[in-house]
Symmetry: C2
Subunit: 117 residues, 2 copies
């Protein structure tokens, strides 16, 4: 949990709270927060975009790097924004482009939710 | 509801295929399959129900065991069916009740998707 550069406030707001789903039932409030992240990945195009960013060289990508998912650039931008709003990506504008990066702590927390208790 | 039995075939049909999302971009077909599972967990009530089943004694639960999520029993049944259709739960009728159980291989595969490459 070290490098939170651009959006430290967002991170603390969205990192899930919760133990593995197999450990105890989630509270309503925990489920509300966590479901947002799963929902963001519950669309095939967003999931492809997320994996495109996550696996891109240097761990970050801009819209200019992603053109092979079969949707227009504005649609790519729209979905990347949704992923950012769900706390799965952070973004930083550099010159013309906005660069997206996976938020590793969120990914780790989601992985932990799905691990066996 | 009355057509609910154990579904051994379903299991092999839904286990995701894919390496960690950080390893390489998912193909369209991989994303289509995998997004279904994330989408199933992308609803707060379903997520609570899933954690209720996953954390229940013996690793399984029937609708009769789950009554504290603030929705009616038919709604609980509806959501459990959705989770089953997404491959996250398996079900088995025993007497009056259908018992749901988390499909551990699917949970493990989703956890792997979210792990660092």
């Amino acid at each position: 949990m070290s490098d939170t550069r651009s959006l430290p406030v967002l991170e603390s707001a969205v990192v899930p709270c919760c133990p593995p789903l197999t450990e105890r039932p989630l509270s309503a409030e925990e489920a509300e927060r966590t479901a947002k992240m799963f929902k963001a990945l519950g669309d095939p195009v967003r999931l492809r975009l997320f994996s495109a960013v996550a696996s891109h060289e240097g761990g970050e990508a801009c819209v200019c790097d992603i053109s092979d998912v079969g949707v227009s650039q504005p649609t790519v931008s729209h979905h990347l924004k949704k992923l950012r709003e769900a706390g799965l990506l952070t973004s930083e504008r550099r010159g013309t482009w906005v660069y997206y990066r996976v938020e590793p702590s969120v990914l780790a927390a989601m992985g932990q939710l799905l691990s066996a208790a």
